[in-house]
């Protein structure tokens, strides 16, 4: 019984930590979405770092017909270059200009989340 309780408590803690981790990413994504200028009306923009080599840009908006449109771009950072995939399309290499823009966005992202989200650590 004691063993079972211990396992349950440990599982709960892991779940809470995973939830906290997701919340942190969600807030980073909100801050990241503000890096690229004003967000148009009826748009939702999120930009965040998923892991050490993956950056995500997600945009949702309502088009003229009232339908929700979404576009998700995934940047995969590899040692020899950066690949991007949009909405399940095949990977394509980003050119140097886009890579530089992404780098600039990542610098700004880190700065903003450090100040606005992780200032207590």
């Amino acid at each position: 019984m004691k063993k079972l309780l211990k396992k349950f408590v440990s599982q709960k803690r892991e779940e809470r930590q995973a939830e906290l981790y997701r919340n942190l990413i969600r807030h980073e994504a909100k801050i990241g979405g503000q890096l690229f200028g004003p967000i148009p009306k009826n748009h939702r923009r999120e930009f965040f770092c998923l892991d050490e080599r993956t950056w995500i840009w997600h945009e949702e908006w309502i088009d003229g017909n009232g339908s929700v449109q979404t576009k998700t771009t995934r940047y995969d950072v590899r040692p020899d270059g950066i690949l991007k995939a949009q909405d399940g399309q095949p990977y394509q290499r980003v050119d140097l200009d886009e890579a530089r823009n992404l780098r600039q966005a990542a610098h700004e992202y880190k700065l903003r989340i450090k100040t606005e989200l992780y200032n207590f650590i």
Binding site: R22, D51, E52, I56, T70, Y118, I121
Partner: protein, 138 residues
């Protein structure tokens, strides 16, 4: 109207996780998360710097690029590189493109695509090939 969302955003409160959640190891999680971002930014920074450095190297001389590229291919294939092998590879049709084995340009392109795929993790080769590819697109 329900807006479709990435799983990662589904559910959960809207407010930022407070530091007092540290009782559950929250501060540790926050540090881990920030460390992740820091590392991710560093990786990206290094990758872009590498690209810039590699692209700046061979000037803009197509012949020099070819030599660099071929040397890198040969070294990565070690002793197994041969014209015969290239020939075999180049006649493999790819489903994405309607491959015509009688078209020398298509054969060359197919060989290039396959080699590029095979050497995706080789920074020197892929950078040289990317440069070739970019030049072809211009």
């Amino acid at each position: 109207m329900n807006i479709p969302s990435l799983n990662i955003f589904a559910g959960g409160p809207d407010s930022a996780p407070a530091p007092y959640e540290g009782a559950d190891g929250g501060i540790t999680i926050a540090r881990e998360r920030f460390g992740h971002v820091d590392h991710a930014e560093h990786t990206l920074d290094t990758t872009v710097a590498n690209l810039e450095a590699i692209l700046a190297l061979p000037a803009h001389d197509p012949e020099r690029v070819n030599e660099t590229e071929m040397a890198a291919i040969k070294s990565s294939y070690n002793d197994s590189f041969s014209a015969e092998q290239t020939e075999i590879v180049s006649t493999e049709p790819t489903p994405a493109a309607k491959f015509d084995p009688n078209d020398p340009e298509a054969r060359e392109q197919a060989a290039r695509d396959l080699a590029m795929q095979a050497h995706l993790d080789n920074p020197v080769v892929s950078a040289a090939r990317q440069q070739l590819f970019d030049r072809q697109q211009q």
